[in-house]
Each structure stands twice: as structure tokens, then as C-alpha cells.
């Protein structure tokens, strides 16, 4: 019996080694560079939240090859493994440690207090210390713009929005979408579905098919892992879809109308400038939130692609006007309440 238990254990170990093997090593040994550790809760090619940060960070490193020595670790998802990972990097003398996700907040704040000379960055959240800051996406901006585009494009007066779970930025994005759509047409019908997570591609596709069947002709999705399913539904039903995180035009050139595109580089530049100048340790509370917004170019919308010709020249100028309003901060989002969680 012992033998068998041993064998099963060996298989588990082999399995785990595959997971570990996926963490990549981009470091080289020069010492004058800033040592940065990026810890991702998922995989860097998840087509979503993790990938956008991974690519933003890689773009920043490529632009400043002599400044940053980057180490990326993937799949640190369980809260129980986050704290050891943070401690480990802090112990190894990393200068900047990035925890990319809301679940990093509690352990990150705790570890940051133990290592006051190390800088910590948190991807979405609200707690911080003297040596940590938060970067986040102000998705109501992008959502608003998508709402405006959807409401102008629709031929049936029915539009939809599909998201992962109603937390934080996703919730704000959806509320922004509704606000934007109603600014064009107060009587528009908006269907909304949360699939519960960001990975159920098939469930999201089914939700989109249901919406399209009931007469909806434009859907925005606010999480692009599940969004791939929405794009495919649009392709099958030959209706329009609006993307999120990355420009998804190539996925369905006849059906992707536009989309929100994240540019984390926009804040990474600021963050690392503040770290270099030493300002980082003396930020005010408000300054500890680095938002990507329409205003700072952290969010943009993908070029309108309208093969069905649903948008008139007048509509296009309205879309541009609303983007200008967002860029100059003219839209009032104070009506959006945070979800009570």
C-alpha cells in the first residue's frame, strides 16, 4: 500500500512542478537596476486582467531596458500563498513588489509594514501604507463611452452588458455604461448579466446568445476572458459587440464595433518616476491611487468599425464629443454608488 501512496504523491509533485515551471525568469544579474517583482494571480496569457498588466509592464521594461530588472511570477491565487510569496520577494531584497489583484490587499499591507524600505504596489483595492500605493482602472469612463456608442448604434433600442462579477471596477463600468446609454436615450432597454466569474467563456456565450435572441443588437462585455464567448456569439448571430481590455477587432472583423483598451503604461510611467525621484514615500493619501482614466490616456476606445453602417456621421461626431467630455472630466459620475459588499 505504501508504494501506491508514494506513487500518487509523486504524481502530485510532478503536477505541481508543471505549475511552478510556468513562472518565468526575466532577471539578469546587474545590480544598479531597480529589482521589480510582479506577482500575478492568474496566467500572463489569460487574455484579460493579468495579461494587460503583464504586457503593460513588459512595454515599460522594453522602453527602459537599463532601469528595470523584472521578475514575473504567475498563478499566486490562493490567499494562503500570497503572503509567503510577498515575504519571499521582500526577503530577497526586491525594491518594488507588485501584487496584481484585490486579494493581495490584506497580506500586502501586512508585509509592507514589516519591510518599510521596500515599495509595494497593489492592483485595485483601498488599503495602503507609507511605502505602498494602488493602481486601478476607472472603468466608468470606458463604460460610459461604450454605453454612448451602443445606444447610438442600436436599431432595436435594446442593448446589453455582460460582466464577470459585480465587484469594484466592473460594477462601476456597468453603471457607467447605463449612464452613457441613457444620456443618449433615456428610454433604452438595457439587459445585464453577471456570469459569476471571469473564466466561464461558454456561459458568457450562452448569455449573449440569449440576449441577441431577444432582440438586443449591441453588447458590451466588461471582462475579456468571458468576453471571448460574447464575441463568438456576436459572430454567430451577426450582431455587434464592444470589447474590453484589448482591441478585439481581429477576433470578428464584421462584428466588433469598438471597445475599451487599457494602457497600464500610462500610470506605470508615473509610478516609476515617483519611485525614482523618491516622491513615492511621501505621497499624500489621494496620490496613492494611480488611476488609468480617459483623462490620462490610460483608457482609450478602439477605432469605430461599423461595416453594417448603423452609425451616421452625426452619431460619430456625438461619440467623439462624449469622449472629449470624458477626457476633460465633464461627466458627473457621483450618482454611481459603490456596491454594498
Amino acid at each position: 500500500m505504501k508504494k501506491k501512496i508514494l506513487l500518487v504523491l509523486m504524481i502530485v509533485v510532478i503536477a505541481l512542478s508543471f505549475t511552478v515551471a510556468c513562472s518565468s525568469d526575466n532577471s539578469d544579474k546587474s545590480s544598479d537596476k531597480l529589482k521589480v517583482a510582479l506577482i500575478l494571480p492568474g496566467k500572463k496569457d489569460d487574455l484579460s486582467f493579468n495579461q494587460s498588466m503583464y504586457e503593460g509592464m513588459m512595454a515599460y521594461v522594453d522602453a527602459h531596458p537599463d532601469k528595470i530588472d523584472l521578475k514575473v511570477t504567475e498563478n499566486v491565487y490562493e490567499v494562503s500563498s500570497i503572503e509567503p510569496a510577498l515575504l519571499d520577494f521582500a526577503d530577497q531584497g526586491y525594491d518594488v513588489i507588485i501584487g496584481h489583484g484585490f486579494q493581495f490587499m490584506e497580506p500586502l499591507v501586512k508585509v509592507a509594514e514589516q519591510y518599510p524600505d521596500t515599495k509595494f504596489l497593489l492592483g485595485t483595492g483601498y488599503k495602503f501604507t507609507k511605502n505602498s500605493a494602488i493602481y486601478d482602472v476607472s472603468l466608468q469612463d470606458g463604460g460610459y463611452q461604450m454605453g454612448v456608442i451602443a445606444a447610438l448604434a442600436t436599431q432595436t433600442n435594446k442593448i446589453g452588458v455582460i460582466g464577470g462579477a459585480d465587484v469594484s471596477e466592473i460594477y462601476r463600468g456597468h453603471e457607467g455604461y447605463k449612464l452613457g446609454a441613457k444620456s443618449v436615450n433615456p428610454n433604452i432597454e438595457i439587459q445585464e448579466v453577471y456570469t459569476g466569474d471571469w473564466t466561464d467563456t461558454a456561459g458568457a456565450k450562452e448569455a449573449a446568445v440569449g440576449m441577441y435572441d431577444s432582440g438586443v443588437d449591441v453588447i458590451w462585455h466588461s471582462g475579456d476572458g468571458i468576453g471571448l464567448g460574447v464575441v463568438q456569439a456576436a459572430k454567430e448571430k451577426d450582431k455587434y459587440v464592444l470589447g474590453n481590455v484589448a482591441d478585439q477587432l481581429q477576433l470578428a472583423p464584421d462584428n466588433v464595433l469598438s471597445g475599451v483598451v487599457y494602457q497600464w503604461q500610462a500610470v506605470l510611467e508615473n509610478i516609476f518616476n515617483d519611485i525614482e525621484s523618491g516622491k513615492f514615500m511621501n505621497l499624500t493619501d489621494d496620490e496613492r491611487f494611480y488611476w488609468i482614466t480617459a483623462e490620462n490616456g490610460g483608457e482609450i476606445y478602439a477605432k469605430i468599425n461599423d461595416p453594417k453602417g448603423w452609425l451616421t456621421a452625426d452619431d460619430l461626431s456625438k461619440i467623439e464629443a462624449s469622449w472629449n467630455d470624458l477626457k476633460t472630466g465633464k461627466i458627473d459620475f457621483s450618482v454611481i454608488e459603490e456596491p454594498t459588499t
Binding site: V8, T19, L47, V193, T195, A202, K205, G210, S214
Partner: protein, 314 residues
């Protein structure tokens, strides 16, 4: 208000969606009926499906042939089933532990090979999935046609397999022997039925069904591969087998019930029914649990369920 929601169009869309959603649960469940009837609880269905999904996707992407993709899914499902068979039959390992370990291994392997093959891309590679196949004449019947006869070929085949599986298990000697090694392996052995041989066959067949279902997800249902593409459907399939008391026809009803609950909750949410979305999301799982509890009381488990067989044991 309610009459606005529950229109004919609503029900047609709902039921068509139910059938699509039931398919990736029905196929692996049918395969697991062989496996469980032979006395093996194989919890690695989820992992086997993930392996089938990545194999099917890669094969289709490079060959351009969807059928080659289905074949690749089935072949890799077969091999993954073989692994479970070696662990549970030859090495007589604890089936629950072996199944869980294989799931972890599959998740790692699938992502590892997907990355080796496709690298990291900002937009995912896609294939052209199975097209909708309208059954002539039947698909033109209003309502019924849209619900039942406008799906892709794999959906029809999955439902055909219900009858095939029932026939093999109930009406052939092969099926009888599989049931025999699950009910009383010692008696079967004394009658000259190779217990290992039939248990191996039953697990490998389960692997082939699961591999096919995995490939269906990546090239039939969707047109991409993601690491969580199976999304728990493998585990639901294992539950459906027990709910179905190891009978193919009942497994079909179980899969349809889960499909209906999922399709319904997505539509009710979209229409703005005033219930928290978290509660709506629970609906399919809550129904599965209730159905399981009610059905498993009466379930007639194979007598040698999860018990490894050895001639030496007395």
C-alpha cells in the same frame, strides 16, 4: 409584465440553449456510466476534458480539419483514461486520490502544451468551429425546428450516443461483463472474465467520451481554448451519473435539467428579474444538489464501487 417576458421566442431560445448546454455534460456522463458500472469512480473527468479540449483545438488549428480535432480529443482522452486505469486497476491506488491528482496534472499539462504550441499572444488563436447543421424539412417546423434541429453535428451525435450507450451496456455481452466486474468481480473472475481487462476498457471508454466532450468545447461550442474552458462540467457529469442511477436515458434528463437551469438563470438575469445575481448563479448548482440528494437515495451503486480488485484478497 410576465406575459411580455414569457413569449414563444423566449421559450424557443431557452430550450435551444438548454440542449446546447446539456451536450458537454451528457457526453462525459455517458462515458462515465461505463466506468462507474465497472466499479471505478473516475474523478479526473474534468482534467480529461481539458486535455481533450487542448488536443482537439491544436489538431484542428494545424490541420484545418474539425474531425481530426475530434479524433485527437478522443485519442488523448483515451490515453488520459489509460493513466487512470493504470493507477486504479493495476496499482490499485485510492480512486479518489488518483482522480484528484490527475485533475491537477491535467490542468498543468494542458496549459503547458498550449503555451509551448501557441506561445503568448495578445489575441487568442481561433478556429472555425462546427457549423450549425439544419436537418432538412424538420428544421423548418416552427418552434420545434429551432429548438431541436438547428444545432451542430456533435450535439446530434451526443444524443444518438444515449441510445448507443444504452444498447451496449444492456444488450451486449461486453456490457454485461462490464457490469459483472462492477457488481461482483470475484464471481466474474471465477467465470473467466478478466476483471482488469474489462475495468481497463470501461475506464478508457470513459476517457474517449470525455476527450470528445472536451474537443466539443473548444471546436464545437467555442472556437478557442482557455485554461478553464471546461468550467466544472466534468464534475457535474460525474454527479449526473449518480443522479441518473447509472442509466443513460436518465443521464440525458439530468444533463438537460442542468442545461435548463443554466439557460434560465442567464435569461432571467438579463431581463432584470429583481433577485440578486449571486442567487441566480446558484440556481443550476442548487438544482443539481437537490436532484442528487433525492435521486441518490434510490441509486443502486455497483456492489464493488470504488473497491480495487485483487485475487489475493479474501
Amino acid at each position: 409584465m410576465l406575459s411580455n417576458i414569457f413569449t414563444v421566442g423566449f421559450f424557443v431560445s431557452l430550450l435551444a440553449s438548454t440542449i446546447r448546454l446539456a451536450t458537454p455534460i451528457l457526453l462525459p456522463a455517458l462515458g462515465q456510466i461505463y466506468t462507474q458500472r465497472a466499479g471505478i469512480l473516475n474523478l479526473s473527468v474534468e482534467g480529461t476534458m481539458t486535455i481533450g479540449a487542448v488536443a482537439g483545438f491544436a489538431a484542428t488549428f494545424y490541420s484545418g480539419s474539425l474531425w481530426l480535432g475530434m479524433l485527437a480529443g478522443m485519442v488523448f482522452g483515451l490515453f488520459y483514461g489509460l493513466l487512470m486505469a493504470i493507477l486504479s486497476v493495476t496499482l490499485r491506488a485510492n480512486q479518489v486520490i488518483a482522480g484528484v491528482a490527475l485533475n491537477i496534472l491535467a490542468a498543468g499539462l494542458a496549459v503547458f502544451f498550449y503555451r509551448v504550441i501557441f506561445g503568448i499572444q495578445s489575441l487568442p488563436p481561433q478556429v472555425e468551429p462546427f457549423k450549425m447543421l439544419r436537418i432538412p424539412i424538420l428544421s423548418n417546423i416552427p418552434v420545434i425546428g429551432v429548438i431541436f434541429f438547428q444545432h451542430n453535428i456533435i450535439v446530434y451525435l451526443a444524443f444518438v450516443m444515449v441510445v448507443v450507450t444504452w444498447f451496449i451496456l444492456e444488450k451486449t455481452t461486453f456490457g454485461l461483463k462490464i457490469r459483472a466486474v462492477g457488481e461482483n468481480p470475484k464471481a466474474a473472475d471465477s467465470k473467466g472474465i478478466g476483471v482488469s481487462k474489462y475495468r481497463y476498457s470501461a475506464i478508457v471508454i470513459g476517457g474517449i467520451y470525455a476527450g470528445a466532450a472536451g474537443a466539443f468545447m473548444s471546436i464545437g461550442y467555442l472556437n478557442i481554448f482557455t485554461e478553464s474552458i471546461i468550467g466544472g462540467r466534468g464534475f457535474i457529469a460525474v454527479a449526473v451519473v449518480i443522479f441518473a442511477r447509472f442509466l443513460p436515458i436518465r443521464a440525458m434528463w439530468g444533463a438537460l435539467l442542468f442545461g435548463l437551469a443554466t439557460a434560465l438563470q442567464l435569461r432571467l438575469q438579463a431581463l432584470g428579474i429583481d433577485v440578486a445575481n449571486q442567487l441566480m448563479l446558484m440556481l443550476p448548482y442548487a438544482i443539481t444538489i437537490i436532484a442528487l440528494v433525492l435521486a441518490s437515495k434510490k441509486a443502486d451503486f455497483p456492489s464493488a464501487y470504488t473497491i480495487p480488485y485483487s485475487r489475493k484478497d479474501r
